[in-house]
Symmetry: C2
Subunit: 435 residues, 2 copies
């Protein structure tokens, strides 16, 4: 199917906002994360405004590498994504529901069931953001001293996804007969053993649930290392990327399309959604003030940790925040792409640790009056290299309210945006139903 | 806290009904299982009528030992319980939400999160029915040729429950500060590493989610073998049992109370809910006709399988349904208590295979006009040995409608039943919040 000819938007779900100090903003709701009514209101606001999907990130541990600074952030306390999205499903009617789940610390049978169940409950609106887990504290919650190695993580992930797809397909479309007269509930000719025997998993099947309404829930992926990119090209249907500048966008897409083609797939079957972290205010100056205010609300310990957590085993606790970053060596196993990017940024611009942390953590790449934000979105869209954006609102609910009320109407007036058509998430994305 | 002085009721959630041919009944909804709107309507009906809890059974495979007859039942196709109950949470306001989950094929960290999330989303209404998995097809979905042995299953379950409770407690009550001024989101003094290192699990913790509103979601258990009963006495707060006659009820409770005391707990902290499978009609004769009709709707292959699935490796496919059951030997590892019970029943009354299957599978122990059903419930309640019933409606929605509209008002008029008081499930059950 052709790529949608209008911009699409997903939204990261986090109760108080995506900025690490967003919950402290005077107009943020600090209690949002555990408040299901707040989540419902936000989901409906975004659905009504024409967002295509809600997206919930996840880590199977407190969300940092160490505990020292986490008590100052919302990243150590959040609802399990599939449980949260299941609760939102009957409270919404069209918006996609995309949960992150790791292939390193789950069993394929359990995860296949959960996403199939979410797809049935939501009438075909489920998506799975496939991750392999990189936060060290996660491994220790599952009996391991450290994560699987980089290559093994992705090999396991690839087999895991194959098994899950196989389980979704282990009941053919139309297998549910439910004919009272003959007494046949399921057509036995349309239900299959999977009998998968692989290097990491042995799974008999069949799945104990009819094929999901979408055939397969939509697969999201965000791999950025070379191995991760190859995996994304092989399985990703919507690719989350770091923010791309207008200058970078076409190169990124060209490379991705080549990777997708090399993996034997049609680049037309892949959507690209860079992350977008907007701050909308009445004027550009006022928006910049909000960004600065958010930066000032980050505690020094958190600033230091934000950079350190993307490095390896170095201890940053004695580093002066206002000195340039020391010259660290080459990458370790974890977070290779992030570490390299941070090092290049720090060296290229001779940033202090504080400046680097703010640059990296501020997570607001598009800051200004509504027209300014719309202009930047339009410029990236004009490259033809992206299909939409995955929006992380720095604090909530205000920024979601302003974005939907002020930015989307401008994009609609310019003919760049309209609410998606279609019932299932797959249809809204212009992706074929899995055969 | 004292045991509630009025009858309480839980309801098994299964879209078309609990009788194996219930979906074929002329007034059953055969499409109920995957229809979330149907589940919502049923949940609200039961909540409004004063039911204390919804309960979802589960098997991590198609729900039988072999596939030959499953296509004639609803037992091969159902939603994952936690996902289903999460969807029902915001659509209901008081009723408890109890999901079955196995300790054999999950990781404690994942399950602790899911039940804690369900408890937060529902405002303290979550319960966990702890099972260890006995259906052979389950093992094969998780890389094992067969289940863990009986003793190892329960040893693993005991450690699993300890870890889950430890994770729930790894954030103390009141840990969430969320104070914008000081920037402290979580009180670090109220969050703990678990650092569990046991025979089956090694889990660092802490859980990445605030302590559940109930402290601990309520633990349900239904173990019936000697090992299973010891486990239930150790961890169960609500015990599901097989139907008990008036004659058996006091003996059962006396034995359970002794087991609970031996496990170092107060018998006042345990509730007993035998299963109840009612058929309500205008007259006793009409109700008996419905039961016979349901029996006649069970295909011969299913009848045979119903008995065989509770035995071991014997093949029943060539047995004549209308001959007495052959003399099988002693129990194997699986389903010891069921097998022994069936053998005793068959031998004691010289039943044919068909008669045994109908007796066993009919699953309607309380059949009659509303007053007849109420009388039998009242008689068991009058023993003082039960706290309520876990109701499995043979076909839906009619039997739930009749039970709530006709039987509950009789029990209320007699002063035996009233809707539960309290906000959380634990409060409704009269159970202390976990310290």
């Amino acid at each position: 199917m052709p790529r949608p000819d209008h911009l699409q938007f997903g939204a990261l779900v986090h109760g108080s906002g995506g900025h690490i100090a967003g919950w402290r903003h005077p107009r943020a709701n600090p209690d949002g994360e555990l408040d299901i009514d707040f989540h419902v209101r936000l989901a409906r606001l975004l659905e009504d405004a024409g967002f295509t999907a809600l997206f919930v990130a996840d880590v199977v541990a407190v969300w940092g590498h160490q505990l020292d600074s986490l008590h100052r952030t919302t990243r150590a306390d959040y609802l399990e994504p599939i449980t949260l999205l299941a609760a939102l499903a009957p409270q919404t009617s069209r918006i996609g529901l995309v949960a992150t789940a790791t292939t390193s610390y789950n069993e394929p049978y359990n995860l296949a069931r959960k996403f199939a169940s979410l797809d049935h409950i939501s009438g075909g609106r489920a998506g799975w953001n496939v991750v392999t887990s990189v936060v060290p504290l996660e491994a220790a919650n599952f009996g391991r001293a450290e994560h699987f190695g980089h290559a093994e993580r992705y090999a396991r992930a690839a087999e895991f996804v194959d098994v899950v797809k196989g389980l979704w397909d282990s009941n053919a479309d139309g297998a549910l007969i439910r004919d009272k007269a003959s007494g046949v509930y399921i057509d036995p000719a349309r239900r299959f053993h999977l009998d998968h025997r692989g290097e990491h998993f042995t799974v008999a099947g069949p799945l104990n649930l009819a094929r999901p309404p979408q055939g397969h829930p939509v697969l999201f992926q965000a791999g950025a290392s070379p191995t991760g990119r190859a995996f994304a090209a092989r399985v990703g249907e919507v690719i989350f990327t770091a923010p791309v500048s207008v200058a970078e966008a076409v190169d990124y897409r060209t490379r991705l399309d080549a990777d997708v083609t090399a993996a034997g797939r049609d680049p037309g079957d892949v959507r690209v959604w860079p992350i977008l972290t907007p701050i909308v205010a009445d004027t550009d100056a006022e928006a910049a003030e909000i960004l600065a205010e958010l930066g000032s609300l980050i505690h020094d310990d958190v600033l230091r940790r934000l950079v350190q957590d993307n490095f390896g085993d170095e201890d940053f606790s004695d580093l002066d925040l206002d000195e340039p970053l020391p010259d660290f060596g080459t990458a370790t196993n974890r977070s290779q792409s992030r570490r390299a990017g941070l090092l290049a940024l720090a060296r290229g611009e001779q940033l202090t640790l504080r400046q680097l942390a703010l640059r990296f953590s501020a997570r607001a790449d598009t800051v200004g009056a509504a027209t300014t934000v719309a202009d930047r979105i339009a410029a990236v869209w004009a490259t033809g290299a992206v299909d939409g954006f995955n929006v992380s609102f720095p604090y909530l609910p205000e920024q979601a309210e302003r974005f939907t009320a002020e930015v989307l109407p401008i994009l609609a007036d310019r003919g760049l945006f309209r609410p998606p058509t279609g019932t299932t998430l797959r249809e809204q994305l212009g992706l074929e139903r899995a055969a």
